[in-house]
């Protein structure tokens, strides 16, 4: 009797296990061509971007729900970014360029069917500039002194100066629904970010269908979107995958159709895999070593140039990025219109580096293998962030390269917040860090002498560079400032307050049956509304233009 019951339990357990494992194996179901499963690392705590984390992934998702007045275009090679119509169907500057009149598209509607109006535009500007909301990008609205409602579909922006960035300033941030969110006072917006989920209407191609906090968002087609033939997909399922290896695994196992945030190390697991396509694209980011010019080792440009010659950046890029990055020569990266194409990265030339160091007064007098100048050994700390594995690998390779010319760089990993504080306070020797280039090409925060204590971590000061930065910022036509920017790059190349290590690329991978997928530096999901499955045979509806 006892043994019988044990046997029955065993059978039950085996049957249960078979059912569970069988369910786990049942991924070979026919593809649903109305939807796509996207994996990326994200957090979407609120649909209100003014109180949300200022991350690329957040913006990539939020821009599917909300539109800006104009849409920045992704090609920066030919010139400054162009602006395409979005909620605004047209705009014009006054003769003095201190007023910008924007006409909203009459087809622009919220997902509840109400029109997007100029009142929404003004409400958005008021919220963006409200001190209690403390929006991360409020400074872009600093030159806008008022937004006037001309009529329900016309708004006029008033500026306090003629700025080349006026269109960018107006288009930074999406338009918010006044009728849905005005009932909540601005002062209470930050206290309950979840409130906005309960009062959510959208004007973008998608609306929010469901949400499981921290795990999944399901976007559904917005039938009131101003382009009625788009999106082509009925539904997009966004899965939060915080770990890049897990992301690759889920893609390989067929649990995802698109994955963004693939690492170079994982790329070879995907590249060439039948049914999957890997795409690499510039993310406008560059990684560099910043030398603290207030420290005795880095106070002269000749020494900094010598260090550039001593470091084999090509080997670093080849080893770490497996072809998905290139050696950089300038903070204006090579895919941007203002990049100086004649600027060549300093070559790897240890012999020339030794000579240059000797000419700068760095000699190994005591024979210990480390150079000295004025009795000070060339020994310094080279810091980078905990968790930044590529930079840590690079730092160790730099240590080896510098050691070969008699310079003792001592790698150290520091908590990101702690290192950023130390960088701003010039409490460091040298550090590996990175930035994404801003298409406004405003280099004031990074290199202007008045920004020491801010992001001018090198404490670099050059009057000619200051003048060039100021001059470019005041040009109404950025293209006319190309020569200024070329000169700026030449100065930075010669003075080397930072050594640009590499221009990296972002990697995304997707099912090859998915068409029109074109991630770019603006967003991995930039044209999500155009994605479709090849086999779905999608055609625009007859009514579409």
């Amino acid at each position: 009797m006892y043994d019988d019951s044990v046997l029955s339990l065993r059978r039950l357990a085996v049957a249960g296990l078979a059912a569970v494992v069988g369910w786990g194996c049942s991924s070979e179901t026919p593809r649903d061509t109305t939807q796509v499963r996207v994996g990326l690392r994200f957090d979407y705590p609120t649909p209100n971007e003014l109180i949300a984390p200022p991350t690329l992934a957040y913006a990539a998702i939020n821009n599917q729900l909300f539109l800006s007045l104009m849409e920045e275009q992704g090609d920066f090679r030919a010139g400054p970014p162009a602006w395409a119509a979005s909620l605004a169907e047209g705009w014009e500057f006054s003769d003095d360029r201190l007023q910008l009149t924007v006409r909203l598209s009459p087809d622009a509607k919220w997902s509840d069917g109400r029109p997007v109006t100029a009142e929404d535009v003004r409400f958005t500007w008021l919220a963006q500039t409200d001190a209690s909301i403390a929006w991360s990008y409020a400074q872009y609205k600093g030159a806008i002194v008022d937004v006037e409602v001309i009529d329900s579909h016309t708004a006029r922006f008033h500026f306090n100066a003629d700025l080349p960035t006026a269109l960018a300033d107006v288009s930074t941030g999406t338009i918010l629904p006044r009728h849905a969110w005005e009932p909540r006072p601005f002062g209470e917006w930050r206290s309950d970010p979840g409130w906005f989920f309960e009062h959510l209407v959208t004007n973008g191609p998608f609306r929010l269908e469901s949400r499981t906090a921290g795990r999944e968002l399901v976007l559904g087609r917005n039938p009131n979107h101003l382009e009625p033939e788009l999106p082509r997909l009925e539904r997009v399922i966004l899965r939060a995958v915080p770990d890049s290896t897990a992301l690759t695994n889920q893609l390989l196992a067929g649990e995802l159709d698109f994955a963004y945030g693939i690492t170079a190390a994982d790329a070879n697991r995907i590249d060439g895999r039948p049914g999957l396509r890997l795409t690499a694209y510039s993310n406008r980011q560059y990684t560099f070593v910043v030398w603290n010019t207030r420290k005795q080792w880095f106070e002269d440009a000749a020494t900094r140039r010598a260090l550039a010659l001593a470091i084999d950046r090509q080997a670093i890029v080849d080893t770490i990025w497996h072809g998905y990055a290139e050696v950089g020569s300038s903070p204006i990266i090579s895919g941007v219109w203002a990049h100086d194409p004649e600027l060549e990265p300093w070559p790897h030339d240890p012999a020339a580096a030794r000579t240059a160091l000797a000419e700068a007064g760095w000699i190994d007098n005591d024979g210990d293998g480390i150079l000295e100048r004025g009795g000070v050994p060339f020994r310094f700390e080279l810091a980078t962030y905990i968790g930044a594995s590529a930079r840590w690998d690079a730092v160790q390779m730099i240590q080896a390269d510098l050691s070969a010319v008699g310079v003792d760089a001592q790698p150290r990993r520091v908590d990101a917040n702690a290192l950023n504080s130390r960088l701003q306070e010039q409490d460091f020797d040298a550090a590996a860090s990175g930035f994404a280039i801003d298409t406004s090409l405003d280099f004031r925060p990074l290199f202007h002498s008045e920004e020491v204590g801010g992001l001018n971590w090198a404490a670099y000061a050059n009057p000619e560079l200051d003048r060039l930065i100021d001059s470019f910022a005041n040009r109404p036509d950025p293209l006319a400032g190309r020569d200024d920017l070329h000169r700026l790059q030449r100065i930075l190349h010669d003075d080397q307050p930072i050594l640009v290590l590499w221009e990296s690329m972002s990697l995304a991978a997707f099912d090859e049956e998915l068409e029109s997928v074109a991630p770019n530096a603006l967003s991995p999901l930039v044209n999500l509304k155009e994605w479709a499955w090849r086999e779905s045979g999608w055609r625009p509806p007859p009514s579409s233009s």
């Binding site: 006892y2 043994d3 044990v6 296990l17 569970v20 494992v21 369910w23 786990g24 194996c25 991924s27 939807q35 499963r37 957090d43 705590p45 609120t46 949300a52 200022p54 403390a134 991360s136 409020a138 400074q139 970010p193 979840g194 469901s210 499981t212 906090a213 921290g214 795990r215 999944e216 399901v218 399922i237 899965r239 939060a240 995958v241 915080p242 770990d243 290896t245 897990a246 695994n249 889920q250 390989l252 196992a253 649990e255 968790g387 908590d415 990101a416 917040n417 702690a418 290192l419 950023n420 504080s421 130390r422 701003q424 930035f435 994404a436 801003d438 925060p445 990074l446 801010g454 992001l455």
Partner: protein, 320 residues
């Protein structure tokens, strides 16, 4: 009841110490958790946020205000990253962690006791030697490595289990039974991986205890009554080993919780471990503090429960 009161009082003091030390460690660590990482964001923005979150106050004032809010309304503050109440974030991720840790506990006991029984039936046989060697091996292997290999081989390679997450995409469309099956399909592999390391310990203890039992008077009496080996070991032998096995559950609670952080990262399991790891990386102080507190409560509660259960199983404990 006396034992329960003493244990509860000790647990409360321990909890306060854990909270205070964690607050000190997190807030005194160098760096500014609100410093903007995007160069386009001006430093004044951090100042505004600092004022909003009360970080412009002196540290003792911050501590007292924080402790008061926790004690009076269980308010752990707002996450710096998401703006959401830290307690809500943790409460959302607590059930998945309890499910994973509970399943891992079950897996480690089922496996450990099962293997211990097998080994005890034929001491010093090849099977016994194999079980002992395997239990040492799984104890020595790091959970993250076992997890990664399990994902690669069983998930990506053989397709026997999903490689990550707690449910399939758009699982909200599934019916109740399908949802349960879907969660179980995602659960079994991480639970097994997490449970494996402690299963070895339990197998070794069960084996030793059962072999000992067979040579006791009670063991010999059971055999003399003609009971089968299986029944002697399963019913009488395990009763003999029970109190110690319960104690081992209490010991494994903190290990399971710390192991869950690793397992959740490898399997993208949306639990407290993942939330805590992301909060630590982002220096999201309120969430780190709340996570530490929730972890401490779980561990203290598990120890307390084990103590009380042990006292019930073995009344001599109360007398001591």
């Amino acid at each position: 009841m006396g034992l329960a009161r003493v244990r509860l009082a000790a647990a409360a003091v321990l909890f306060l110490i854990v909270l205070t030390l964690t607050f000190a460690a997190v807030t005194l660590a160098p760096g500014d958790p609100l410093a903007p990482t995007d160069p386009r964001i001006p430093p004044e923005q951090a100042e505004r946020l600092r004022a909003l979150y009360g970080l412009d106050q002196p540290l003792p004032a911050q501590y007292l205000r924080w402790l008061g809010a926790v004690a009076l309304s269980w308010d752990w503050g707002q996450s710096y990253q998401t703006g959401r109440p830290a307690a809500d974030l943790l409460l959302e991720s607590l059930p998945p962690t309890l499910l994973l840790a509970g399943s891992a506990l079950l897996a480690q006991y089922v496996l450990g006791i099962g293997l211990g029984l097998l080994a005890a039936r034929r001491p010093n046989s090849w099977l016994d030697l194999g079980v002992r060697a395997a239990s040492l091996l799984v104890y020595a292997l790091p959970t993250f490595w076992v997890g990664l290999m399990a994902v690669l081989v069983l998930g990506v390679g053989l397709g026997l289990a999903p490689t990550g997450g707690m449910t399939s995409a758009a699982a909200f469309e599934l019916g109740p039974l399908a949802t349960v099956l879907d969660v179980l399909a995602h659960l079994w592999l991480p639970a097994l991986v997490l449970g494996l390391s402690m299963a070895g310990d339990i197998a070794r203890y069960t084996r030793t205890s059962l072999i000992e039992f067979q040579s006791t008077e009670a063991g010999r009496a059971a055999r003399a009554r003609g009971l089968s080996d299986t029944r002697i070991l399963l019913v009488h032998g395990l009763s003999h080993a029970g109190p110690r096995l319960v104690q081992m559950a209490a010991v494994s609670a903190p290990l399971l919780l710390s192991g869950a952080i690793v397992a959740e990262a490898v399997f993208s399991w949306p639990g407290m471990g993942s939330t805590t790891l992301q909060a630590i990386q982002a220096r999201d102080v309120p969430v780190v503090l709340a996570a530490t507190a929730y972890g401490a409560v779980l561990v203290i509660a598990a120890s307390l429960a084990a103590d009380l259960l042990l006292a019930r199983l073995d009344p001599r404990i109360v007398a001591e």
